[in-house]
Symmetry: none
DNA sequence: AGAGTAAATTGGTAGTACCAATTTATTAAC
DNA sequence: GTTAATAAATTGGTACTACCAATTTACTCT
């Protein structure tokens, strides 16, 4: 007899999550109007009150903007309060290079910690994302940003440090939603991607081999490569 | 004739502001239940819908917590979304050690960057905070957390990286507001503080000497010392 | 005194009506 | 045919009412 406690889920929270997912997946683009409350309520078979509550939550978080008489619009990523990096990038003359510099500090350290702590499931996740990247490159000249992010998030999870995981998640949300177009060149440059894939494999090998210093150096090589790639553009 | 445009103010926003003010002024203490929605609606002569909207906004921001059947309560300061680290520390079993591990990544990297980029004003700021710590220890057995934070922030400013500066600011806000009591032991332990002061001086010397690897290693020594200090408790 | 039940209290959901702001469509005047 | 004014439609905002869901309190029975 294996009974698990049932946690009731508020309707407005479920609406919130669905709409948030649509935004994060890019179904509703930045600046685009989403469906009106009445329409969402009918489509989801809930009351307009619940929809309105969910939308208000997304407005408070900065993902959406209300305009009475017009509709509800997706905010530009820079205005999102949920992501501290957006705030940093919006208020100052911050650049992609600045962000990569911070990554250098965070991710090299993370790789070293991962080499000390990775569980088999972590290693499996890293290998899976490497496999996805290989599959992509076998049939196309590009890889999905999701596979790249998944690799780095797998390394973060392997650190078992919740603060670091949270920060890394913010990073990848921001990188791939906020400034995705800046990264497009590299994600469609076959030679660059082969190098990236090689770096990922080197990081993975070092982590699997429980070698923190090698993992640190491999990740450093990787991020330095990305930095140099964008510094040339 | 001086006519100013009249900007209509949403009722729910006015409720939001009034309640937020009461919380920030301490009329409702952390953990305390605020007035029920129905009561607030009657007191403010508005509909419960508007009150509920305002409360939901404060809940989303983390200042309040709903509990169906009980009431609405003021969150503890650690849970406030104004600081992203608070969110990371609240949702998981995160520890001070986790936070120090992340600092290891960020701040060693920052020290190396500072050694490459520090201006005279940056060096002056570091020296000033070291001076304040020395003054404190000359007359008392403790130092102010502000002087310690000021040193680390001076190093961050010396990196000239706005993203890093922003993240570091969040760190020190959180460290000294969120979990200040955990740090008290060290800030009143004379021997520990003498070591910390020595570490700061070593970091400063390396930065002033434009030696990134020495700065990195000195900062690493410092944070490792703090980690070990708290791991013994 | 303890257990069970009922009532009260609180936030959550739903539906309806209307208001406020904006946009679109229609009509009237030139 | 064009422009301006008016009406209608669309969208979010407010209000009200009724009921549901979760928790606490009060009452009754053993």
């Amino acid at each position: 007899m294996n009974l698990k406690p049932i946690k009731p889920k508020r309707i407005s929270d479920q609406v919130f999550e669905q709409v948030r997912e649509l935004i994060l997946k890019g179904e509703f683009k930045s600046g685009q109007q989403i469906l009106p409350e009445r329409e969402l309520a009918v489509s989801m078979a809930v009351s307009r009150t619940s929809v309105s509550n969910a939308i208000n939550k997304l407005v408070t978080m900065g993902l959406l903007e209300h305009r009475q008489g017009q509709g509800t619009f997706v905010s530009s990523p820079d205005n999102r309060n949920g992501n501290p990096l957006a705030a940093a990038m919006a208020t100052d003359e911050a650049t992609l290079d600045d962000l990569l510099e911070v990554r250098m500090g965070l991710e090299c350290n993370a790789a070293a910690l991962a080499a000390q702590r990775a569980a088999d499931t972590d290693l499996t996740m890293m290998l899976k994302s490497i496999g996805e990247m290989e599959d992509d490159l076998a049939t196309t000249d590009r890889i999905s940003t999701e596979a790249d992010a998944a690799f780095h998030m797998a390394v973060a999870f392997a650190t078992k440090n919740p603060v670091l995981i949270h920060l890394m998640r913010n990073f990848y949300d921001f990188l791939f939603i906020g400034i995705k177009k800046n990264l497009t060149h590299m994600y469609m440059d076959r030679n660059a991607l082969l190098s990236v894939l090689g770096h990922h494999k080197a990081v993975y090998q070092a982590i699997r081999g429980r070698e923190p210093e090698e993992a640190y150096t491999a990740m450093r090589t990787h991020i330095q490569y990305v930095q140099d790639y964008f510094r040339k553009r």
